[in-house]
Symmetry: D2
Subunit: 345 residues, 4 copies
């Protein structure tokens, strides 16, 4: 069985990799499709992000869908041949955070394809993987494998929505329209947002933002003051989803966010930001970090299965895992790609 | 100018009624369409509900849409000829509840067509009405007057959603699929509910419930145990919207509502209920009343304007206000009608 | 070793009872003191409450403090001779509610001295008990064993406070000043309540309510309209802690509770209540059940240890477990007793 | 009548100042005592803070207590001779934020002694002031004028507590033990905090922190790693009240704050901060600004009146307003002063 293994920045190899034995309560899954995430890109380009670095070869990938090949002892809810999305969130279930329902902060999390712990947790960009039954979420027939693989990044966006609190009728600003920003638009719309404005510096992501439900978009490279009319009466937006990781985007939004506005910071920006803490104080903003997800994976698949969200406009291309260099180059090109998926067939 | 005036149970007359003078900051509106609400029906059938009784002739109605005929001094945001929905919520702006953002509990509320205060507040079932500009909400061209008139009951449902807290991915039960229950389904879906089950005792409302977005419906007259499979593990539903006003519906739901489940009681049931307070305690339910709305009216019109909700399936008939007896009889017939609207043209 | 075993209503016997073997991670505790709870009284007087009945002999008791006699393998945090309060809350840690941080709704809870499951869970009114280390909470030297035993009912009150949301500066009404009502006063005061009014029908509990921090008390047997002045402007109280289990108390409070007021129903009243659901709707109350506790036990002991709460005024008497008939008779007499404790020395 | 007028940095003069005429619904108050706030100090030392600068002469001061000299037409709730604390928060009551209950974000706030708007709002460091009756809060006999003047900074701390959410049993860290930090300790304790640790770089403020209720203090100048043991399991503190305005204090706390910890930023630090946004994201912190207060003033006076908080340990000195240079120098000296008050007798 083959897997995509990162050895060093730029050194991503197709290698033989053993499949775990199928234990009780587990499923053996033939992986069919896997989405390239920003963190996969960071490992590929820089060998990590922030203080996290690859220390040993690691299989990348955590956004996958596939077909069940075999079920372990005691598994009755699933059968071979069923198509599933696989949740990469594997908390211990026993630590204080698991016992508080905060599984994404588990003290012993084994998230796929992460170099945060050592030895690293091997990822899911491989032809075959053995998973626990609780990680499996059945896909409706109308969904493609690609859409199934999108359940993971959609879960991140849904978790961001949950962190923001109720959105029904709210005015929402999304800064940064990469995959996570665009999925935040989809999720905010689904959660009842009244008006959604999205900003980015690129035409391609903004065109996608409109396609997935933004009411208006502003290209802040072309129109640096494009949000100015929202500054009236101390600011008009109720909630900001910051998905650019860009300090200027965040600071610029401070002018147009109303007092008591909620700022949801999505994604790891990799660095520090210098912020006008005075504005946070004077307008009593509420700046909330968002890290991964857990329960939201089931919601993501349910919304996809019921056609309550549509992620197809965000799928840019599907490339064979044997052609990973091309796939990763495309994934890094914001002028033409949103989400690039690898095919493992 | 003519209005629909209730004098006593069953005694609803078309009468001449004076139009208020147009003051500064006001709009004179030609009413085109008005929805018959459950409370209008109660005044018509019983002369009131609970302890509220009509003490003097009163114009009924509070769900109306129309066209601006003239604008008062200082009004620049609106122009004659524009189509609007009219919010009947007119709080004082000065009392302690207005100053807390709880306008629906205003100590001096003048809600249209309500006998709660004396002298009663005259309603909006009339050919012409003068309103304050803040009550006006512009309708998109694609909306009919009928849909515009639905903004009011939709606001009630949206307020119910706001009282329930975040619904994204939640399992929702709606008991009672009259207009308010059906609108709660629409609103819950819009707010991201994951699975919606609706119950009623009539085939017609249940068929409408399916049309507006319920995943499943149960006719509890035919299938009294139709919810039994949801009782597993102390109950599966996260939120109950109770819109039947029926004690049995509420009690029945206790079995299938999970611990810490939220019960949102919509609408005035007119009486008392005997409840197993033990179940509320042991499962730590949270029973929340819902009364009218205020800010939600703007949201209702925005969602309608943007086609983010569709209330058309709930519009059963439009009848001339001169034929009010037939309109009210139809509105009272759950076997064939959801919302019946009066035409004032 | 001896235990207090209930066989049938009125039939409470001192009997030999085996001590469990001391396993790894466990403590063997010499029980010194145990409080008689309302549920113990119900078992004694009526054989149960609501639908719960004793089906086989059961050791009563769940409010105990004692001294560690021996520690099991692997226990390093505790040593023989240390004085502790014992939490009776023993959730499974694995079910969906444990994984959500709602341990009090555990699907497999083994709460001491409860006939809710069959076979019943044996209680802690015995001379010796083996507990898991996580159940132990060290007592400060200045605390008596009696105060230590009060940690359990105090936890119930603290859980009620947590269910109510922030109380800082709030106007609080407590109806019913038995032990739980009185502890709710103590806990509400500690949580920053601005003004606390307590009602009861007995002079003795009201005198205790004043002693533990109520600003005012009203004997509603003598002054049925004693709360009338709080009805102004739709009601003055922000939060009601209902600890009487009395329908009239709850209904009477509806008049003086402000719109959006929060009603916290403490304790199992054993029956049904007929409630004016109209008032709950029109004033948008929020009626919340409260059932046991879990995390709050640690808080209870911490507040006691730091003298941040004082429960001594509520301790009415300590009686030998061999004299249980007298102890239970006294515990049932509201005219002279709040909390009666059994001594197991 | 004399007032303390700031003309330029370091140029603070005693000047004649006219008293407003007493209108209906107003009170004429003889000011007896006024606390020097950090913002008064900033005006005195630097002519302002952040982007706010004095543009014209302005009476300083907003923390005052005094005696009613005369009551205007229609005032029945107050009488001459009564001692009151005066709330400096004067919102318009009509703007969108007032109508949402967010008076501290009023679009037309006239806060005493503030150069945020132009012309500036004159302050309360004067012998006589005319106030609206709603600004007056009666002081209990046992309170000194000085304690009464402390109601204002206490309100800021209480507002910070309200922004933090429920504190009952929570582990709280306070960084910076100037007057606001120390008052946050008092308020957190009153709100039921379980354990409070305070840090500062000075011995004097830390000694005060202990006096007003901190369980432990750490002098981070002497013990830079003094919080290290709280870093276990991803951090032990639930809530951080940051009152130092110091970037290093905030960053240092990130290590010891648990995932989902709440950071309440108190006070205007005057500048920008460079923050590891990655940590905010990965631990899903919730960073909340706090700006002034409104409703909390009534709570502050109620808690003082009922001896539920004690601010006396924070009162360092009372100096005549004629000796303002000495008073302001003392107020700026953290090695010996917490709150310095001016006497206007």
């Amino acid at each position: 069985m083959e897997a995509l293994v990162i050895h060093a920045p730029g050194d991503l190899r197709v290698e033989e990799f053993p499949t775990d034995e199928l234990g009780p309560g587990q499923l053996r899954v033939r992986v069919r499709c896997g989405g390239i995430c920003g963190s996969d890109l960071h490992y590929y380009q820089h060998g990590g992000f922030g203080t996290v670095r690859i220390q040993q070869p690691m299989v990348l990938g955590h956004e996958v869908a596939g077909v069940i090949e075999a079920v372990g002892e005691g598994v009755t809810a699933y059968a071979p041949g069923e198509r599933i999305a696989v949740s990469p969130s594997r908390p211990c279930g026993l630590c204080r955070f698991c016992q508080e329902g905060l599984q994404n902060h588990c003290l012993d999390m084994r998230y796929y394809g992460s170099a945060m712990r050592n030895p690293h947790v091997q990822g899911a960009f491989r032809q075959q993987i053995v998973v626990d039954a609780y990680q499996a979420h059945r896909l409706a027939d109308h969904l493609t494998d690609q859409e199934g693989a999108m359940a993971e990044p959609l879960s991140v966006a849904l978790h961001g929505i949950n962190r923001a609190g109720p959105l029904l009728g709210k005015k929402v600003l999304v800064t940064g329209c990469g995959p996570i920003g665009a999925l935040a638009i989809i999720a905010a719309r689904r959660a009842g947002a009244g008006h959604i404005v999205a900003t980015d510096m690129g035409a391609h992501p903004l065109s996608k933002a409109l396609k997935v439900g933004a009411d208006e978009v502003v290209n802040i490279a072309e129109e640096p003051d494009g949000l100015a009319r929202f500054a009236v009466d101390k600011g008009q937006f109720d909630v900001l989803f910051e998905a650019s990781g860009n300090e200027r985007a965040l600071r610029g939004a401070f002018e147009v966010l109303r007092p008591r506005g909620i700022i949801v910071q999505l994604g790891l920006s990799g660095g520090e930001m210098t912020l006008p803490i005075n504005a946070i104080v004077a307008k009593e903003f509420d700046l909330r970090g968002v890290f991964r997800f857990h329960q939201e994976f089931a919601t993501a698949v349910e919304l996809l299965n019921k056609r309550l969200v549509d992620v197809k406009p965000l799928i840019s291309a599907t490339v064979s895992y044997r052609d990973s260099a091309r796939a990763f180059a495309l994934a890094a090109d914001r002028s033409q790609a949103m989400k690039v998926l690898l095919s493992f067939d």
